[in-house]
């Protein structure tokens, strides 16, 4: 059983890495909300990705990371990587 990341987990990591969003949308985060809507730029995504990779021992595909516009798309990438790493062990 792989440890899947939930939306609220991602919101917490984002907050910790890139600061509280000025847009309250993060507290009611939906999968179709974009990073841009929340005021997070590419460096925020980079910092968040580094943290997730470090904490979970996974590597996310760099290009895919920057193509992910919404929290849902990004979460799918993370969970695919988590599932891969679980299968590998």
């Amino acid at each position: 059983m792989s440890q899947q990341m939930q939306l609220e987990d991602l919101a917490a990591v984002l907050r910790e890495c890139a600061g509280e969003s000025e847009n309250a949308a993060l507290s009611t985060a939906a999968l179709d909300v974009s990073f841009a809507d929340l005021g997070y730029d590419s460096v925020a995504v980079l910092e968040t990705t580094a943290r997730i990779e470090r904490d979970h021992g996974v590597v996310l595909n760099e290009e895919s990371v920057f193509e992910a516009e919404t929290l849902g798309q990004y979460l799918a990438l993370v969970n695919a990587a988590l599932a891969d790493s679980t299968r590998a062990t």
């Binding site: 890495c17 890139a18 600061g19 000025e22 460096v43 910092e47 580094a50």
Partner: protein, 408 residues
């Protein structure tokens, strides 16, 4: 003398200083001769040969900085953003009404975001590269304060940073004036600096000029026979600079005009030649179309080093005569603020013009015999003031002189 419509005037001021956070708090403290120099509280200074600094103690980051910016900003950037906000509010200007590329930012910096850099270097060497913040890529950088102010207020005009140590606080404002002359309508300009973490402290110590005394009232005594070095601090000032015509058109309150400026460079040590500070003053006076007798007060660089104090006193004597003009160093209450110091002196000069009073030099009772300057010591001196000269010398040979003048 009426204000030339094309000249650059100051319409807004923001300040963060060890003896007061905000223009009002700082200026009130200055006129009460209250110093912000104390034993360092940010880290334990016991193991270091110098232990005094001018720290800003009442800045609560989250009160001034949006949450989104906290992970990506050094203390110097947070201070800069708060000071820029105060200056813009003070100017009463609606930046959104300006054309899209009409306003820019010109600041001075001497070391960038040192505290942020220290934390990330510690993470790198103790835990590894994957623990270093992606924000380190820009958070340390000299231009970061200009950048964050520009982003925060959507100021898309020509912007930049000057790195000339203490002289930067004047050089940046001169660069802003150039921008106004080339068509920009408004500039946020000046300097706020801070490097009071252990890594920054090590750099200050390596500079070799820090006073090692423990008595805050005796450590930094510019022009005194007992001068034994400098105390450094953090903070500075940012100004809103506009063309006089634009300021008048919107009915802005004007503090004064940035009427004259020049920069010179000293010859390398040990190769002969003479210091060029006096030359900078002569050129600044020529730029302002003024004569020395029209200068009512001088805000000195005030190094606190015997040789450097003598050199400054000599320059002043040559231009104004012995004890020929009131001289002051309110930085005796803050310590020397690197790129922020001369900008804070500009702010002090403008408020001196407003209130018709020379702010005091504290702790120095009288200048040394070989520094024949009319130093305003102990308490403020009420005086009729029309123009003030601000001097700054930056490590490495930078000299700058600026003149601010009352606008009728």
């Amino acid at each position: 003398m009426s204000a030339d419509a094309s000249q650059s005037v100051i319409t807004g001021i923001g300040v963060a200083a060890p003896n007061g956070l905000s223009v009002k708090a700082w200026w009130n403290a200055v006129l009460r001769s209250e110093s912000g120099i104390r034993r360092i509280g940010r880290f334990d200074p016991d193991r270091y040969p110098a232990r005094l600094a001018g720290e800003i103690r009442d800045f609560v980051d989250a009160d001034h900085i949006p949450g989104r910016l906290l992970p990506q900003t050094d203390r110097v950037t947070r201070l800069s953003l708060a000071v820029a906000r105060e200056a813009i509010d003070d100017a009463g200007v609606d930046l959104e009404q300006l054309p899209r590329y009409a306003a820019g930012v010109s600041t001075a910096s001497s070391a960038g975001g040192f505290e942020f850099g220290q934390r990330e270097l510690q993470a790198l060497w103790s835990k590894g590269g994957q623990y270093v913040s992606a924000y380190q890529s820009f958070a340390w950088f000299y231009a970061v304060n200009t950048g964050q102010i520009s982003i925060g207020h959507d100021l898309r005009g020509p912007s930049g940073v000057l790195v000339t140590e203490q002289a930067g606080g004047l050089d940046a404002v001169a660069q802003a004036r150039r921008r106004l002359r080339r068509g920009s309508e408004l500039m946020i300009t000046g300097g706020v600096d801070s490097a009071l973490c252990p890594w920054g402290w090590t750099a200050h110590l390596a500079g070799g000029r820090l006073s090692t005394g423990d008595d805050p009232t005796r450590a930094y005594l510019p022009f005194s026979a007992d001068a034994s070095g400098e105390v450094v601090g953090e903070g500075g000032a940012l100004l809103v600079l506009e063309r006089a015509a634009a300021a008048r058109a919107r009915g802005a309150r004007v503090y004064g005009a940035f009427a004259g400026y020049a920069a010179t460079f000293d010859p390398p040590p040990g190769r002969g030649g003479t210091p060029q500070l006096a030359r900078a003053v002569e050129l600044a006076l020529a730029d302002a179309a003024m004569t020395p007798d029209q200068v009512d007060v001088v805000f000195a660089d005030a190094a606190g080093d015997r040789a450097a104090d003598r050199a400054e006193a000599e320059a002043l004597t040559r231009l104004f005569g012995a004890r020929g003009v009131p001289v002051t160093a309110p930085k005796t209450m803050t310590g020397r603020l690197s790129a922020g110091g001369a900008s804070l002196d500009l702010a002090a000069a403008l408020l001196a013009l407003r209130d018709q009073v020379v702010p005091p030099t504290v702790n120095v009772t009288e200048p040394a015999d070989d520094c024949p300057v009319d130093l305003v010591t102990g308490r403020p001196r009420p005086l009729r003031l029309r123009a003030a000269l601000v001097l700054a010398r930056g490590r490495g040979g930078f000299n700058a002189a600026a003149i601010v003048r009352a606008v009728p």
